[in-house]
């Protein structure tokens, strides 16, 4: 059994603040409304199109290692959310919150990642700058 440190449903809050990110393969594989948090160690961070994805290892209750993978949106979307190709490095400890697939496989869609130094990488868009910063002058 995977080591799940926290499980909490935050569907209401996330739906209120989120901008939709449609996965390349759609939504049928994912458990609607799920939000699972696990602690693990990064093995690989793929900065890729059409989706970036993170591979990380989590120790279960018996000490066995479970290989997790969780997708994000594409690089352009992730840059807008403050992520970068260098955001995650192999060996780094992370706490990953994600929507998980149906059927129990260790696969998910990232909602947020908390780094060891406390920095939060979210897949939600930050608030938009004031219009005077984004709209060209006539």
């Amino acid at each position: 059994m995977r080591k799940v440190t926290t499980i909490f449903l935050v569907a209401v809050g996330l739906s209120a603040v989120s901008v939709p990110l449609f996965a390349h393969h759609g939504n049928a594989a994912f458990e609607a409304g799920s939000s699972v948090t696990v602690k693990g160690t990064v093995t690989e961070w793929y900065w890729a199109n059409p989706h970036c994805f993170l591979k990380f290892d989590v120790k279960d209750d018996k000490g066995s290692v479970v290989h997790w993978v969780a997708e994000t949106s594409n690089p352009a979307d992730m840059v807008n959310r403050g992520w970068a190709k260098q955001s995650l490095k192999p060996g780094e400890e992370v706490t990953v919150t994600m929507q998980v697939v149906k059927g129990g496989n260790p696969i998910g869609r990232v909602q947020q990642i908390v780094l060891a130094n406390g920095r939060i990488l979210s897949t939600q868009l930050p608030p938009e700058p004031k219009p005077t910063d984004t709209v060209a002058k006539p």
Binding site: A16, V17, V19, P20, L21, F22, A23, H24, H25, G26, N27, A28, A29, Y46, A48, N49, P50, H51, F53, K55, V69, E71, N74, P75, A76, D77, V79, N80, N105, I107, Q124, L125, P127, E128, K130, P131, T132, T134, V135, A136, P138
Partner: protein, 268 residues
Amino acid sequence: MLRRLVTLAIAVLMFSPLGRAQNARPDPAPAQRHDISGIWDPANGPGDGIGGTGSKAMPEDGKPEHQLPYTALGLQKLNASKPGNGARMVQPGEINDPAVVLCDPQGLPREDLYELRTTQILQTPVSVIILYEFDKIWRVIWTDGRELDKDPPEPRWFGYSVGKWEDDYTLVVQTNGTDERTWLDKAGRPHSADLLMEERFHRVNHDRLELTVTINDPKMYTKPWVALDKFPMKLLPPTTDVREMMCSVSEFREYDKAMRFNNPADKQ
């Protein structure tokens, strides 16, 4: 407790697309005549043009008011498509969307209806050129007075487009000759080679552009229907760096393998 609720409500509004939509400049300048050039972004936030469940004006969400007027052939072709989103969504391994499982170009009209993101429009004396962020694709709309060829030489992913100014601020673009292998939208709606697509680019003012897309394809639909209705876009600074967003086949296969989606194309 009440104070916390009020704070939460304000935060939700600030972060929501609705809240962002309120951030319009109060008195935008009028637009120049016959000019839709610029770098444009969906005005209601970058997610507004994604269209994951199909055309924004007519999503495939199972609601009766969004039921399209299919012909018998249109319905047959619709039922052959297996999309990953919408009311008919299937598991990833069953999806047969060529743009998803093969990284094929999504062509027109889907480029307007799925993943309409930051869009750069350039104008020359004889044409309007559109650079789309998604797929890093460009197309040319001829504005030199020519008529649309009623019998285009061969099908193209993005067809053949001719534009005419209906008034000082509205460019009406007709497109035909599209490749019928493409899906009309992400929900798997069909189109035939006889599709005539109309785009109306209406510049409301200096800062705002609206796009309306109408589908006219008698082989697939018994009457024309509006797929995008005055979709609002806002002007970005001319120095905006439009990022890459595309489907890389090699990276897609790594992703598909890692996510265990059993992409049908990987089994070929």
